[in-house]
Amino acid sequence: MADSRTEILARVHRAQREHLQQAEVAEALAELGSAPEVELKSDQLVDELLSQLQRQQATASIVRDRSAAVQVISEYVYSTYHHRLVVAGNDSRLAALPWRDGSVLVRFDATAGEDPVAITYAKVGVAESGSLGVWCDLSNPGVNNWLVQDHIILLDVEDLVADFEQAWQHIRNAEVRDGSPRGIVFISGPSATSDIKVEKVFGAHGPVRLHLIIIGNLVALQSASSQGV
């Protein structure tokens, strides 16, 4: 008696409407092309990203360099918790930040739920939906995305792209450089639910708040040092 795999694939083969060779399948797919381009509401990718994140009640800061990012983290964490303890994955970019300048104490580990704040360095930002692409791997343990109250995500402005099509290209380049993670997550807001009265409540299971720090020299936003969205 054949196993279920063989039986299911045989049924699929019998029922499906085409029986193309591998090269022909690839050719047929290529002919279908890609999805129509997304029309962004703003010319500026940063503006688009921030406006989308705002819809999901996320907040953001824009800073010129990594040192300023540490200052923002320090103030953000202290204002809520009256301490400066955070957890972060083993990301070389995070390890290189001048944490001492902001008196921030970082534990490079996977949280077990005792840490209120996690820091993650995004691999890519997607303007069309306000999404921040992060890895689930050594550089950012998956649990750090969800077992905290506050999630702070850093994004280099060079890693911001217009849409998901560009994001996947960016991700494939990063995978060549850093290896392929077991998980890729696009985070677009804090954890939320509308299951009761269709009323949106944050912190359903994961973070109650999401804060983005965009790092880079933005010509259009040079005067903005550290503004909330």
Partner: protein, 472 residues
Amino acid sequence: MKQTSNAFLDTARGNLADQRLREHMNGLGITIPLGRAMAMEELGNFEVLRSHLRDIKDHTLNNLDYYLGRYEENVIQRGGQVHWASDASELNDIVAGICQRIEARQVAKGKSMVTEETALTAHLQALGLEVTETDLGEYIIQLADEPPSHIVGPAFHKTPEQIRELFLEHHQLGERSLETPTEMVQEARDILRDKFLNADVGIIGANALVAEDGRSMLVTNEGNGDLGANLPRVAIVCTTIDKVLPRAEDATALLRLLARSAIALPVSAYTSFYTGPRRDEDLDGPEEFHVVLLDNRRTEILGSKYQDMLRCMRCAACLNHCPVYIGAGGHAYGWVYPGPMGSVLTPLLTSLEESSLLPEACTSCGRCAEVCPAEIPLPDLLRDLRAESVQSGLTPWRWRWAMRLHAWLAKRPGLYHFTTGMAIKLMHRMGRKNGFFSKLPVAPGWSSVRELPAPQGGTFMQQWKARSKSDG
């Protein structure tokens, strides 16, 4: 779950008589479509994008063996394990087998319509496992011991007062107000956090499977599915063979329409792509990563005149826009999938005998097809199922005879015009006094809630001929 689709009329009647439910559902039937309309208007290219996705999905279904093979190959290459299940009981046995092998005691389960289809929770509980639904809506109906009434918001039929009562009854936490949704969400979060931390197995669903890299896409707002995929020792993705797509870009293109159709936002809070277990150097993640691919009669739909239904992305737009669903309520459909998509899927996945009333639960208004992001011609599929129902003798004998009589008459134009002309004249004479009929002996149900205006003038064909003559 026990199927009660043929009790549709009785359950719908009960729901319609429930004033509280009426107000609640009517509100949902206005606010959710309004939000979706605004989201689509903002997107701008709904028609172009859905046509593109229809073509991609059709191409994938037409070459499904190739894409399933590619997907399986890539999952295995990344350290995952792929299982194939012909039917519901096989999926349940596979998942139970994994749980028993690792001596699991607690299971954290995310929202998955596939596992509702197979009744996995009850199966695992019967084996002594503690299974906790972790999606808030699913958790609420698990406490209430009820099936879901909506595929995106399973507890949409529950009022905040009912949820509060459930929490007070099931959570032994002493006296507390628990008045607001925020307080209730916080309480559920605390309880479910412990469940996650103690779970041996996490069970999640998938919104799409990507053939080119073996990743499965999971779309959530709560993040409960992600905790299930990252915290327990073993992660199991329960999904179906029709979820596969060729490229990662196709999955995120689908996401654009899925999120807007389901929650009126460009994207959900978390869109995750998982494949394989934790790597050697990782600090967290499951030690084992399994995918169970379920057929459950989908290969019978493939290649049939109902194949378009396999494009369904479970966004619930058709439910939210269906006047019958809003009126009757989700439980009236008596199985896992309610609304227009459920009225097509249920007869195909179970049997037409057990659900012959569902294709009749349609006003043919066409709103479902208008808003469907997968461009599924739902009214056409429902019509085909109704035709099958008549041919199989599943409809009442009076309907069948009326249909036969109509068909016989319609094939004889002379007789048809004569008979309808006489009927119009007769009805005109009988209804002259009031100008309407408040009771029709041939359609008592129809006329019990509305009046039929008495016909004026001749039949349509008589008037058309007269008009053509006068126009020269």
